[in-house]
């Protein structure tokens, strides 16, 4: 093996990079000093570029890691903990594991919604199958500004088409998601994509590299100049100018991704793979450094051997390119032929670009000329990447919100007008305009296509098990009170999984915030982390990983609502325990489980009917919520209820309507004494679930409920189609459904 000294004149350029260049690449002066210290000399431009992307927020989590480390990561089911692998790995029992993760693609989608969203879908799926798991379900969480604005409609249409075209061709069902509109997202939409895959325990592959002399392969698409500096770009505020950075957006090729999926899973079966990592943000350099640091080895790479799509690419361009649908694979020496045969079969590029060394350094050559020489460990999170404690400060609005009192809001006389307003609100109405564009039935395992359910449930073929998945975050609550609001997001996710008949087991998170250097923004971040920790500890749902997206703010509009999207995984050991959300028959009894509260804070009703935005997060009691879930599980297990649907956005009335619509049924209920009717019907106090019970099971139901401390009350009965509250006629299911189903179509067209 050739040993290379680190003599600067052997490098591509004698010109050491300047502090100015470092700043242009987004590095701080103290970071530039630290790089010089690490190298013992001034870096050249290629090396500086390497550090700039690896030390960007996107790759290093430098402004968030201190707090991320406080999240609960332990749990009996955890096979790979947060940060250890590309995605979290959870034991489902019987030798089956689920690998799942959520990731943001906000900034690329703001500039080019179609490709931005498409490549987000591609990236998250590669994170799953690079571990050896076959994706079986995808979800997404989308947030846009005012839907009536033309730009937001353009963004929404582009994002949805991008997700659809990529995910549909890739051939994995998109089974769930959320869509929310608020003016705070006018400049910065949020696009979070989630994927979950299944793998046999013990058949996973790690993102590592070791074994001196083992060949390093790059496989999949050829490398072009797309997305150069994309990672660094993602860490900058969006300004008018950054629209001119358009080449930073990459183009996705779902066909290549599908081939890469099949070839990757096939190559793992050969047993010849040492380690593997996909190439997303920061491309080759990111996978080289992370795998080498993890395996405590080095690499010698000939960049000219990388299959290239464009001519005359510079070393830094090859290293940083974010061309999609590529993988880096370290293979056991002597097993090259087996590996190459698989990629040949799938007609994919497969090239040896270097080998593993014992130097713990990454040495890059271009036409036999050394062009960069950096220590792997110093580039990565947990190694030499910087870690910052950011200042945080409670914003003035927080205390203002707490002054809110329900008595300041006049109770509307006409409840029907509120109901009609909410049904026709884009945040409440059916999202079928969006979901019909996603293939949700490919894979023949989506159990919730024909069964309305609070979570998406996907059967694990070849077993009796199913996984339940949901993404949740009411960012209005998180803005009002980050700690409580984020705990609510976790609780709502757990409630959805529980209503579906599943057992919540773990979460992944996508933390979308503004600029972390703004103390009031960082306060939101810190609060959200604390709330998430609290709730995840309570629900025993460890955090398996995820993604942080800062800088979702523009200079004129300020930051988006703090949006810590929670992606939760639940498990059904037997698919038979699946519980549906729809009322089954006229005459069934409707019960509310959980307590009614005189609260309208942060509700959709308060925000859009009264146009009041200053209020605290809604009522929430973590302990009571948890206890309620336990009794709900028991009701489902003992088959004492025939439907369960959680009370969320739009309150009890909307929950009832959503249960009524699938089978064209109605409801007649009575409100509770001592609680304002608007709060009873449209308030969003947490910890409540609407269930329906067969009359013949009423006694057994009451008996079981009486053994628990969870409050419950009889609301009324399922009717043939009338929607009645205290004998007041608020509509019919037919009329309400026809509005609810078509709100987005009316705004966005067919």
């Amino acid at each position: 093996m050739i040993k290379h000294s680190k003599i600067p004149q052997k490098l591509e350029t004698n010109q050491p990079a300047s502090l100015e260049t470092a700043k242009e690449l987004g590095l701080l002066p103290e970071e530039f000093d630290k790089i010089k210290e690490i190298l013992g000399r001034t870096p050249n431009f290629t090396e500086l570029s390497i550090f700039s992307v690896m030390w960007s927020e996107h790759c290093s989590y430098k402004n968030s890691i201190v707090w991320l480390k406080t999240l609960p990561k332990e749990g009996p089911r955890m096979l790979a903990k947060a940060g250890e692998e590309n995605a979290g790995l959870v034991d489902l029992g019987d030798g089956i594991a689920c690998c799942f993760k959520i990731e943001s693609h906000n900034h690329p989608s703001a500039l080019e919604p179609y490709q931005g969203a498409a490549t987000g879908v591609g990236g998250i799926n590669r994170d799953i199958f690079t571990m050896g798991a076959r994706p079986i379900a995808q979800l997404n969480s989308l947030r846009f500004g005012d839907i009536h604005q033309a730009r937001n409609q353009w963004l929404l249409k582009g994002v949805v088409k991008g997700i659809g075209d990529y995910g549909n061709a890739f051939g994995i069902p998109t089974v769930g998601g959320e869509l929310f509109f608020d003016e705070c997202y006018n400049v910065n939409p949020l696009v979070n994509a989630m994927s979950a895959g299944i793998v046999n325990v013990g058949e996973t592959v790690s993102a590592t590299s070791y074994g001196v002399g083992n060949p390093v392969y790059i496989v999949g698409s050829a490398t072009g100049k797309d997305g150069i500096h994309g990672a660094a770009f993602a860490s900058k505020d969006i300004t008018e100018d950054s629209v001119n950075d358009l080449p930073a957006v990459q183009v996705g090729d779902p066909f290549q991704e599908k081939l890469l999926l099949e070839a990757t899973l096939e190559v793992i079966k050969t047993g010849a793979v040492v380690g593997m990592q996909d190439m997303g943000a920061a491309g080759i350099i990111c996978s080289n450094s992370e795998m080498s640091a993890k395996g405590e080895h080095g690499m010698r790479i000939d960049l000219d051997k990388v299959p290239m799509r464009q001519e005359n690419m510079k070393p830094f361009e090859i290293l940083l390119s974010e061309s999609q649908e590529r993988m880096l694979i370290v293979v056991k020496k002597g097993r090259e032929k087996e590996v190459e045969a698989v990629f040949e079969k799938w007609d994919l590029n497969c090239a040896i670009i270097g080998e593993v060394t014992d130097t713990k350094r990454l040495e890059y050559y271009m036409n036999s000329q050394l062009v960069a020489d950096v220590p792997a460990e110093d580039l990565v999170l947990g190694g030499g990447a910087p870690v910052y404690h950011r200042e945080y400060r409670e914003p003035a609005y927080y205390k203002e919100n707490l002054k809110f009192n329900i008595d300041q809001v006049a109770e509307p006389k006409d409840l029907k007008s509120v109901a009609d307003h909410l049904i026709a609100h884009p945040n409440i109405a059916s999202k079928r305009w969006v979901t019909d564009q996603y293939d949700s039935t490919v894979g023949t395992a989506t159990m919730t296509t024909n069964r309305p359910c609070d979570a998406a449930v996907v059967s694990v073929k070849g077993t009796d098990k199913a996984i339940a998945l949901t993404v949740d975050c009411n960012s209005r609550y998180v803005y009002a009170d980050p700690q409580k609001g984020c705990a609510i997001a976790v609780a709502e996710a757990a409630r959805n999984i529980t209503c579906a008949g599943g057992e919540p087991v773990a979460i992944t998170n996508c933390l979308n915030f503004g600029n972390p250097y703004v103390p009031e923004v960082y306060w939101q971040f810190v609060g959200a982390i604390k709330g998430m920790s609290e709730a995840c500890t309570k629900f025993q749902t460890p955090v398996t990983g995820g993604n942080v997206s800062f800088y979702n703010q523009s200079s004129d509009e300020g930051p988006v609502f703090p949006t810590p999207t929670i992606g939760m995984l639940g498990v059904l050991d037997d698919t038979k325990t699946l519980m549906t959300a729809d009322f089954k028959a006229e005459g069934d009894l409707i019960y509310l489980i959980g307590e009614s509260v005189n609260d309208i804070a942060s509700s959709q009703y308060l925000a859009s009917y009264h146009n009041i935005s200053a209020s605290p997060a809604p009522h929430f009691d973590l302990d009571k919520e948890y206890a309620m879930h336990q009794v709900l599980k028991q009701l489902i297990r003992e088959q004492l209820i025939v439907s369960a649907h959680d009370v969320a956005d739009g309150g009890l009335y909307i929950a009832l309507l959503e249960s009524a619509m699938p089978n064209q049924l109605g409801f007649a209920i009575e409100s509770e004494e001592g609680i304002r009717k608007d709060a009873f019907l449209f308030g969003e106090a947490q910890g409540r679930v609407v269930v329906s019970v067969k009359p013949e099971q009423q006694e057994a139901f009451i008996e079981l409920m009486a053994t628990s401390e969870t409050e419950f009350s009889l609301l009324g009965t399922v009717t043939s189609g009338d929607l009645k509250v205290d004998e007041e006629h608020l509509g019919t299911v037919k009329a309400s459904k026809s509005v609810y189903q078509n709100v987005l179509h009316e705004i966005l067209g067919a």
């Binding site: 075209d165 061709a169 293939d439 039935t441 490919v442």
Partner: protein, 230 residues
């Protein structure tokens, strides 16, 4: 019965149909690789859904030239049974094995949802055992499923009873509102003049397992077995 399910690069419903044929219907299934010329002696070839070769030029246009398709075309010309579902139907039209073409959906969007199908004839292998008065609930999932053929061709197909399925409402009424993609005369599935090649856009294999709470598609597979084995 021995079925052959072709896997093209980009096929993504191949495993789904294999699962239904082998696990639900209990039949023998061979997976046929697009680069091979061997049909492995199967009784019927299924071209599954997906995005063969990325569907980049036109859906099915490139797949039609793959090595295995040369054998499938031969097989069909000798009267062998061939069925194309979704992308498979698109490939069949590109190969000229069934008449017509599949254009972009009228609303220019990919559509995935349950639709209802009215079997138009019992006189075909895949509809032989279906109740002509019952609407089948079957999902569609396509961006290019808008069936088109010249009026004289459609006329000829109607005269020869080559229309197999029409989109309808849940009560079986063939209406403009129940046409999801703009297909001419609500056509959802057809066969060739020789009645041995069948194409349909909806996915019966996605409605053939109790776990999915919809088994309306089973009748199509049962028809095949009953008639072919009779």
């Amino acid at each position: 019965m021995k079925f052959g399910v072709v896997t093209f690069p980009g096929s993504n419903c191949d495993q789904d149909i294999i699962d239904v044929l082998s696990k639900i219907m209990g039949q023998q299934v061979e997976n046929l690789w697009h680069k091979n010329h061997d049909l492995k002696g199967v009784d019927m070839v299924i071209l599954p859904g997906g995005f063969s070769y990325g569907d980049y030029l036109r859906s099915g246009a490139i797949a039609r030239f793959s090595p295995v398709m040369q054998e499938v075309i031969q097989f069909a010309s000798k009267g062998g049974y061939v069925m194309g579902i979704c992308n498979g139907f698109q490939i069949l039209t590109e190969a000229g094995l069934v008449p017509g073409a599949l254009l972009h959906n009228a609303n220019r969007k990919f559509i995935c949802r349950n639709v209802y199908l009215k079997p138009a004839t019992s006189h075909s292998l895949i509809t032989s055992d279906l109740d002509l008065n019952k609407a089948l609930k079957i999902p569609i999932a396509h961006g290019e499923g808008n069936y088109f053929a010249r009026p004289d061709v459609v006329k000829e197909m109607e005269d020869r009873d080559q229309i197999l399925f029409r989109y309808c409402d849940e009560h079986g009424n063939v209406t403009a509102e129940s046409n999801p993609n703009g297909s001419l005369a609500n056509i959802a599935g057809v066969c060739n003049a020789g009645r041995n090649v069948f194409g349909m856009m909806p996915h019966p294999e996605r409605a053939a397992d109790p776990i999915l709470a919809n088994e309306d598609g089973l009748g199509i597979f049962e028809s095949i077995l009953k008639t072919a084995l009779a």
